[in-house]
Symmetry: C2
Subunit: 110 residues, 2 copies
């Protein structure tokens, strides 16, 4: 139905899913990578970096912001975007957990 039954899952599961989903689009991956490359904060010229129209980029930025993966500060009439540690820290432990498990597993199955 296109509707996710979030109420049946734990808060942690829903939160991790929201974060992963926000990352799950090539344009948003590109935005994250670009924010890492231009070490100092970037503003709206992210639009120039992407093959997408300004409203579309704006929408992607909004989703990353809502998920807590980036933050944006007003600087005059422009906006300075950068990565938000908080969001990434939340996913970090999830993947660390998986990696630890996979390292110890040693093909017990499959």
């Amino acid at each position: 139905m296109g509707i996710t039954k979030s109420e049946h899952f734990t808060d942690e599961q829903n939160e991790l899913a929201t974060l992963a989903k926000a990352i799950g689009h090539p344009a948003r991956i590109a935005i994250i990578q670009h924010l890492i490359n231009v070490n100092s904060c970037m503003c709206g010229d992210i639009v120039n970096e992407l093959p997408l129209a300004q409203p579309t980029v704006s929408q992607h930025l909004k989703e990353l912001k809502n998920a807590g993966l980036i933050k944006g500060n007003f600087e005059g009439n422009a906006i300075c975007y950068c990565l938000n540690e908080e969001g990434f820290n939340k996913i970090k432990s999830f993947f660390q957990h998986i990696n630890t498990y996979l390292e110890n597993k040693k093909n017990q199955c499959c």
Copy 2:
């Protein structure tokens, strides 16, 4: 349009997005967590663990499998699913890159 302009992005960006997208659903997070918990491989009783109907679970498993995050082996008439290191390793370096960046950044902006 619901259509992603994948052709405008790099293979790496598309691949990372596909992986993240596959993880970006609470049911699929739950499946991954369950596969970690029951250290030995699980079969179809994942269905019993989730508040979803069997066809829905089957569909989620398929998506995780297509993304390369799990694999499934036939064992008699049942199927043994487990995590697939390959898929997780691909995301690993992406997040490590981000973490290294964030650790060195020290609030230069925003």
